[in-house]
């Protein structure tokens, strides 16, 4: 268990044509000891490069990495006491599961002479160390329910089993930091849900520092203590999952997190306490001057079909409805917006709606998000009485 501190990490790659590409841009980040931190972002945002820099697999162009309070710049990966789980699992295909699990211990506990082929086993102390290795391997295998697979080779395992072996290999030498690079993205949906729970449980049990890289917001939201959302080599926002969702710092974060995606529509500040959106005037106050254009972010679940018109109600025309079971997604057009908006409501409420039908949509004002023209979040003031909570 160790904290991680990244100080102004930069990474510049040289393209084949010789021009430099900045993959990481002066990135600073602290991970507390025992914390589960997720790096979330679209592909190409630099999150995998960052985790490889922490592991020591790639050198940073500038900046420094500390693990457990010690600067580890220039240190070899094996001296950093970190373990990593790879997207491809990176199991050694020519070794049995048992040998895969034992390798990190063999390399650390046996001397070079004891590791030597053929003669190694006759070196003094070999048997004693080998016993501790076998014991630890069996223990980890037992914990991850791999005992019956120890004699197999990775090629004979299913995706989920390989994933578990990769986890076990990372666990077996009890590193102070776990790094995971998209470990679940090669699994099918059902297995992914199951492994999510297992990794969370693993973190709770080991209480070790986890740094987890993913492009999947569900993984980030369900597993992490904190999530760092990355775009273009920078951290856009970092915080607990609930905070990222409720108070995104930028429009990009708001649009990246949440399914279905948040509705972003243009609005105009009409007065110090009102904003006009899609033909309706919502009682939301801002400090922007009258006439400013803002982006109004409406979460699909903050929109509700209602019976009658009102101050906080938009008029919509149903485009199509997707029934998801308990919930339904209703896609609809509003005045002055080319793109359809989406709302998420209970199947019961959506039951009366049909395509081409005109209906009323209430917005719950305390969930409305406002962004300026640069995409930065701006504060809004919502009168308490106008809250739509009563509609629900």
């Amino acid at each position: 268990m160790a904290s991680i501190a990244l100080d102004r990490i930069a990474k510049v790659f040289t393209r084949p044509d010789g021009s430099p590409t900045r993959v990481l841009d002066e990135l600073t980040l602290q991970v507390a000891a025992g914390e589960f931190l997720t790096l979330l972002g679209p592909s190409g945002c630099g999150k995998s490069t960052l985790i490889r820099i922490i592991a020591g697999l790639e050198p940073q162009s500038a900046g420094s990495v500390s693990i457990g309070g010690q600067c580890v710049d220039g240190r070899h990966p094996r001296q950093r006491d970190v373990a990593m789980v790879f997207q491809s699992y990176a199991l050694y295909p020519h070794m049995t599961v048992e040998a895969n699990l034992a390798l990190p211990l063999v390399m650390r506990r046996l001397t070079a002479l004891q590791r030597a082929p053929w003669i190694g086993r006759w070196m003094p102390g070999y048997r004693r160390v080998r016993e501790t290795i076998d014991r630890d391997v069996r223990e980890v295998a037992g914990a991850l329910e791999l005992t019956h697979l120890l004699e197999r080779k990775p090629g004979q395992l299913s995706g989920g089993q390989r994933q578990r072996v990769a986890l076990a290999r990372a666990m077996v030498r009890q590193p102070s930091v776990f790094l995971m690079d998209e470990p679940l993205s090669n699994l099918d949906a059902k297995l992914r849900t199951q492994m999510r729970a297992e990794i969370t449980a693993l973190h709770r049990r080991l209480r070790t520092t986890f740094v987890y890289v993913t492009h999947d917001q569900t993984e980030a939201m369900t597993m992490s203590d904190r999530v760092a959302v990355m775009f273009d080599g920078r951290i856009e926002q970092i915080g607990p999952p609930t905070e990222l969702y409720a108070r995104p710092a930028t429009r990009r974060v708001a649009e990246f997190i949440g399914t279905p995606q948040i509705n972003s529509i243009d609005g105009i500040v009409r007065s110090a306490s009102t904003i006009e959106v899609a033909g309706a005037v919502l009682p939301i106050g801002t400090c922007l001057p009258t006439g400013s254009v803002v982006t109004v972010g409406l979460r699909p679940e903050s929109l509700t079909p209602v019976e009658r018109a009102g101050a906080t109600v938009l008029l919509g025309r149903v485009q199509r409805i997707e029934h998801m079971g308990a919930d339904s997604y209703v896609y609809f057009h509003v005045l002055g917006q080319a793109r359809a908006l989406v709302l998420r409501t209970s199947a019961a409420r959506a039951a009366g709606l049909q395509p081409e039908m005109v209906f009323h949509v209430a917005t719950s004002l305390d969930q409305v998000l406002l962004f300026d023209s640069q995409g930065r979040a701006i504060d809004s003031v919502v009168p308490q009485i106008a809250s739509v909570r009563s509609f629900r």
Binding site: A10, V12, P59, Q60, S61, A62, G63, G74
Partner: protein, 301 residues
């Protein structure tokens, strides 16, 4: 920016040390045993050095002038080219025909492939001894068979008019299986739907299919096999050294044998080096051509 530069040089330093630690021994051996010796040949070719002599002097292109003024060297060059011109079409055409026949059906395919490939990997020095027995003028199997059939016999390896062709036949015998295997690989790479398309287009008979699909699609392989066979023919040494020593009357003397005799028989290092350079240039030109062909093959597949 200074930190940038420092970090970059640092990462280079650590990776470089690993890289050179691992590649170093091989790189040293590569330089010491291949690259520098090859370069030194060009230098020695400009001297009158003889093995064992303590001194030598620079003679410029004298060795090359002498070489190309020497009818014996011309003879060796000419023999080499004639030999290659027999071996290449002989090997390629029979190799292709046999590959087509073997691949046209499944029965006994493995046996035929093994039987035709066997000479390619058998020790040529030992097989040359067997060939000598086969070709023996009086008790050899070939002449016995010919005389039994009432056909004229010959002293195949001692007659200037037959010796080169005889050696060429042995080379074809040796390399045929190699060409066959390469053609078989080429045949496997032809997409099956091309044959279906040809069927639909009315190419019914085997010859039609051969002409419209197989042969055109084997074009790149063909070029490749031609060059590889030419290279192998150029490097012929064992049979000449064992069966004829270049004789009779230099009728079977070829480039590599000349190189060997001049360098290690007469210890004329300068002259041997000049021949080596000529040999190297021919081989390198062919190899570069081969690489071009390979590149193209990669693009097509």
């Amino acid at each position: 920016m200074t930190t940038d530069a420092q970090a970059t040089s640092m990462e280079h330093a650590s990776q470089s040390s690993h890289g050179w630690l691992l590649a170093g021994p091989a790189a040293f051996a590569l330089l010491a045993l291949i690259i520098l010796p090859a370069l030194s040949v060009f230098f020695v070719a400009l001297t009158d050095w003889q093995f064992g002599a303590r001194t030598f002097s620079y003679v410029g292109l004298e060795n090359y002038h002498e070489l190309f003024a020497d009818p014996d060297f011309y003879k060796s060059l000419r023999n080499t080219f004639v030999y290659v011109l027999i071996v290449v079409p002989g090997t390629v055409l029979t190799g292709l025909a046999i590959a087509l026949l073997v691949e046209s059906d499944r029965t006994l395919r493995t046996f035929y492939r093994a039987a035709h490939f066997l000479p390619f990997m058998a020790t040529l020095a030992a097989m040359a001894v067997a060939w000598e027995a086969l070709l023996h003028p009086t008790i050899g199997l070939l002449n016995q068979a010919l005389s039994d059939l009432g056909l004229p016999t010959a002293n195949w390896l001692r007659d200037p008019s037959t010796v080169l062709v005889t050696l060429a036949v042995i080379a074809i015998w040796k390399n045929l299986g190699f060409a066959m295997v390469l053609f078989m690989a080429g045949l496997k790479a032809i997409p099956r739907d091309l044959y279906d398309a040809a069927d639909v287009d009315g190419a019914v008979g085997a010859t039609d299919r051969l002409r419209t699909v197989t042969l055109p699609m084997l074009g790149p392989t063909m070029l490749f096999v031609v060059i590889v066979t030419a290279l192998r023919a150029l490097e012929t040494f064992d049979t000449v050294n064992i069966l004829t020593q270049g004789g009779p009357a230099r009728a079977s003397e070829m480039l590599l044998y000349t190189l060997y005799v001049e360098s290690f028989g007469y210890l004329q290092a300068g002259r041997g080096a000049a021949i080596t350079v000529v040999f190297l240039i021919i081989v390198v030109l062919l190899t570069l051509l081969q690489m071009r062909v390979m590149d193209r093959r990669v693009h097509y597949s």
